[in-house]
Symmetry: C2
Subunit: 220 residues, 2 copies
DNA sequence: GAAAAATGTGACCTCCTGGTCATATGACCA
DNA sequence: TGGTCATATGACCAGGAGGTCACATTTTTC
């Protein structure tokens, strides 16, 4: 975590530095990020950087905690539209709210998810706790869904978690990759075309690809 | 592509070199791979390396083509157990055959998929053609499935491709990551536990997570 | 055998990396 | 005013990267 010196800095200067770091991680990932470039782009000296942080991983950990903090505050102010949702409706609402949040912090989300999804498995222990938080939340959610009889009983918890986690990441990556090509990412995400795509993907997660009697309805 | 000098080399020496390269890419990815380490581990000199290849990306491209070649030969000798399979049965067979192949070339598959999935998006054009081949094959397969009325008609081709591609990659990553921890990866993959896990995942892809009247049966 | 062509070698180059540290600056206090 | 202490700086370091090249060695050709 950053040293006190960094936290004492004026808000503006701190922002400049973390912006440069975010850009660097989004562009190069963690392993290939260069402290020299971060320093150059934030207009501070090399010495100052190491007075603020242990190393670049320290910076990244700080970004991670900031993003987590902001996400928690975002979700604190958001409430599901209805209390009588089943697990799948709730998951859909969470995914969409998550995408709203992501696109309101696109660079930061890009940087973090690039590192977490791309290099996370090889960095091993360091990020394990962050991945675990998601897994735990999902596990609890699925446990409830199974108890309520909403989930296919032949599907065990671990498998269902993998399915939901996979789709959560896939949708997030898709939105970020495609969205960064748009001129207004928020507007793009909120467009009916994209919303329907998300709906359809989650519908397929729920009912499968194979033709059955259940039918897709947009914005159910 | 490698220069003629490399292709003239005795089989054994070529193998030593590509083994060292495979290990390097599997361990460090493409960006962070070190030509110095590759030459050290393959017992050739720096100068020879650059007489054989343009640079490390050239080596990787060669690995890619070798793996593709071997995969094609593998599938040429393999035939689906029955001609009367629907698309989902065929996909399941392909996935399982693919996993057989992957675990018989674990290091190479690991190296290639690490680079392709992890750094592929950022290298842009270079690997696009390889990703495209998979997409094209899937597109054709789905087109047929839709024509046969096997797929939910509310699902369009592009979406179905994304779903199948996502699962193909997810299963492959899962098998590779977990499998590398086992002492005998081939035996592990063939075990009923793992086979059933794959079956269940593909069952969920086909019928969804939600409880319906259709029920999972192992090895259908 | 000699001449020619192909192959192999590692010292050396420049560039950039993460990281250090003696020194300079300037805010605050007596 | 002088002294103290947090902060800021960039020259500097060792290490490793990718890449080159003059020379040594081996193979082929005649």
């Amino acid at each position: 975590m950053p040293k006190q010196t960094f936290l004492n800095l004026p808000e503006e200067k701190r922002q400049t530095i973390i912006n440069a770091a975010v850009d660097e991680f989004a562009e190069y990932g963690l392993e290939n990020a260069s402290t020299n470039r971060i320093v150059a782009n934030s207009g501070i000296s090399k010495g100052s950087f190491y007075q603020y942080f242990e190393d670049k991983q320290d910076v990244f950990m700080y970004l991670l905690s900031v993003l987590e903090q902001e996400k928690m505050e975002y979700f604190k102010g958001k409430h599901p539209p209805s209390m009588n949702m089943d697990t799948f409706q709730y998951f859909r609402w969470m995914i969409k709210a998550g995408m709203e949040f992501n696109t309101s912090h696109p660079r930061m989300t890009q940087a973090v998810s690039r590192v977490l999804l791309g290099e996370g498995m090889y960095y091993g222990k360091n990020f394990a706790s962050y991945r675990q938080k998601t897994t735990q939340a999902l596990t609890q959610m699925i446990g409830q869904a199974i108890a309520r009889g909403e989930v296919d009983p032949s599907v065990d918890v671990e498998l269902a978690v993998m399915v939901m986690d996979t789709w959560s990441n896939a949708i997030s990556s898709y939105i970020l990759n495609e969205g960064m090509k748009q001129k207004d990412i928020m507007k793009w995400v909120r467009s009916p075309r994209v919303q329907e795509k998300i709906d359809k993907l989650l519908y397929v997660m729920e009912y499968g690809l194979r033709k059955t009697e259940s039918e897709f309805v947009a914005n159910p």
